[in-house]
């Protein structure tokens, strides 16, 4: 079974989660724990970098669904970046692009966060 890893680092006014490997029902709890911690720390501006994410299953997608409401209620957001075509296809199939902002890279997502913060 392929491994899965979450790396967490903080940028200016947002947090970045780098996902690596295979996100499915077995590894989803790892990501859940990380999200839980971010919410506890009141970090609601979250960028999820999917550069090294090789696969995501429906259980993996469920993790984003589980937290998006709480994050948005706290005037934050989860923005997804750097998706491989294959991973994007999975998100796209379910209609995630309608629900989430998906960007080419972190830079774009970060800029978006800054604009939102100025407005808010």
């Amino acid at each position: 079974m392929s491994e899965f890893k979450v790396n967490h680092r903080d940028g200016e006014g947002f947090s970045v989660l780098e996902l690596k490997g295979y996100l499915d029902a077995h590894t989803a709890p790892d990501l859940e724990t990380t999200f839980q911690k971010l919410l506890t720390d009141k970090k609601f501006n979250i960028i999820v970098n999917c550069k090294d994410l090789t696969y995501i299953s429906s259980a993996g997608l469920g993790v984003f669904m589980a937290y998006i409401e709480d994050v948005r209620k706290n005037r934050g957001d989860i923005k997804l970046t750097n998706m491989s075509p294959k991973v994007y296809n999975v998100f796209d199939l379910l209609g995630f692009p309608v629900l989430y902002e998906i960007y080419k890279d972190e830079q774009e997502a970060a800029t978006k966060f800054r604009q939102q913060m100025k407005k808010g």
């Binding site: 029902a25 696969y55 299953s57 429906s58 669904m65 379910l94 309608v98």
Partner: protein, 706 residues
Amino acid sequence: MSRIKKAATLIVSGVLLLLVFMYDVVRLTVELGDTGFLFLRELAVVAVMVGAFLLMRDYARKGIGAAIKETGRLLIVMVASLVVAAGTGMLAGIGFSEGGASSMPQNSVTAFFSLVVSLVVGTASIQTILTIKELVYHKRKRGTRRNFLTYVVLLLATAGFSLPVFSNDLAILGTTTFVLAVIMIVVNSFRQNWIVFLSRREKIYCIIYSALLFGTFLALSLVLSNRTFLQKAVLFFSVPLERFVLLNSMYGAVYFGMAFITTLFHLPTAEAYERKQSELSSLHNLGRLVTQVFDFNDLVRTVTHMTREVSGARSAWLELIRQEPAGMRVEVVSANNIDESVIRTVMEGTEFSPRQFVMESKKALMIDDVGADRRTRHLKGRGLSIGSLLSVPLVSHGSLVGILHATKEISYGFDQDDSDVLTTLADHVTIAIENARLIEQSLERERLKQELMVARDVQKRLLPDRFPENPAMDVSAHSEPSLEVGGDYFDFVHLDEQTVGIVVGDVSGKGVSAAFYMAEVKGIFQSLSKMTRSPRELLIWANETLRENLERKAFISAVYAVFELATGRVVLARAGHCPMVLISRRSNRLIRPNGLGLGLTDGELFEQSTEETVLTLAEGDVCLFYTDGITEARNGEGREFGYDRLVELATEAKDLPAMEIQNRILSEIGAYCGSSGPEDDLTLVVVKWLGKRPKDSKVHQGDHHE
């Protein structure tokens, strides 16, 4: 010896004794110088004594298990014979005429009583030597038997040399063997091993018995070596017997004198010895624990019983710590000789609890004086009968699984030894309990497996076993959960005689939770399909319903297609599901109208994003509906089966009947995944368009199961 032999021995002895007595009576009145008869008389006496020996040896062979009983019996015999001898001596009309080398009885009555007392002390003497032999032989060493037999030989030689038939020249030999026999007595008297193995109680008896026996034998020896009635009587009856009895009495005096001293020295260590014995046997019994893992209650009961056994505790109880979602829970699973209420009082102290101490330190706790120790002072004067307390942890793989407690009524009741022994016991108990739990768990797992098999059957029945049958379409379907139950769903609805709906859905995740949602989805589709003919509308309503009932991280993807049999027109809507594969004569396409997964978002956004597609089928067209278990099936290298391979396969097989197209694809996927098999639930519905106008649409029996 058989009963006949015993009887014969008794009769012969009796006859011989009668003859001896008659001879003695004659001897009193008539001076007989005939040594020949005297020799025969001595032979008769020896024969009688040998007979007595044979009879008594038979009786004495009972084994050393009852060493203390043997000793007690000897005491009774000795005291009784002494009483008989003394009593006889005091009878009126009995006496010996003084004069000459040996005293002669005054009358035949005296001669008779001489015979009686001689017999009594003679047999008692035989009993003495038999008893001592048993005691000496206990845990014998190489020299034991040799030394004892040497004594017996010297004893018999001393007796033999004193026969009146021998001349006085042999007296010196008799004296020599007598002295040597006394030396052997001393040597043999150091063989006191039997005392070590007596229990404390038996040792106390042993002190009393050996003291009394020492006194009795000493008295007998003194009486026999002075000119008393007894000496005169025995000497008259048989000189060798007097030697025999005297030596044995001396042996008895020395042996039991030594026994008395030995026991006295052993008494202080008796308790410790006994404790070690019981510890040893209890630790041997640890094997019992392992065999009892099948009955948990038996196991814990044995544990507390053993705890008391090895530590000599007044009471003992076992607590197990169970990890539960709400935290650790401590449960008293077995209590021996103590009330639950007392345990609660001891454990639920406000400032200090032995349980808490052991749980935090994972170390043994010993409180020497419960009433005085500042940690447990509050328990004083509450009638708990607890003077000292010992608690040891049960530790498995570094985590605490339980605590074993023992109490004694007295203060300072436990020592380091007890703590060590209980710690050893605790280790074994831990293993036994772990084993018992593992067995319990595997039984539970077996039960759950059975439950899941039932669930699998139930879920199978939720899927249709009849496929639409009409001249316009050829349908085949198959669904297989990766675990016992799964979240895949497909169904057919007959909207009217000219319209058939086909739905395929996939609940996020796998296993039991997915299976419950799958059942819910079936209910929703079945009822909504009766309310609308528009796939888009149906999905919008389904989303409304599911949004309220699904947990946040769960969602469902689905595709719903409505086939008009007369025209080949298909209306299709997709809620986040895999696109429909359309294989037609001219081109192959993935039909993928926009649409969100069910349960992801509220109605408005869903409505905006979900579209409906309309297409018209031609004869020979093949439609595939499936779940991502098909396209995302992975091979050993982790590569996915993918859309391209699926489309390619279907294209190659498009001229075959629907069921064969389905089988071709499934077997290809099976081969692709290899030995590990599919990881996800997997569903495939194949529709082949025949294009013929139906008169009416029916359903036929399908075989999609398995």
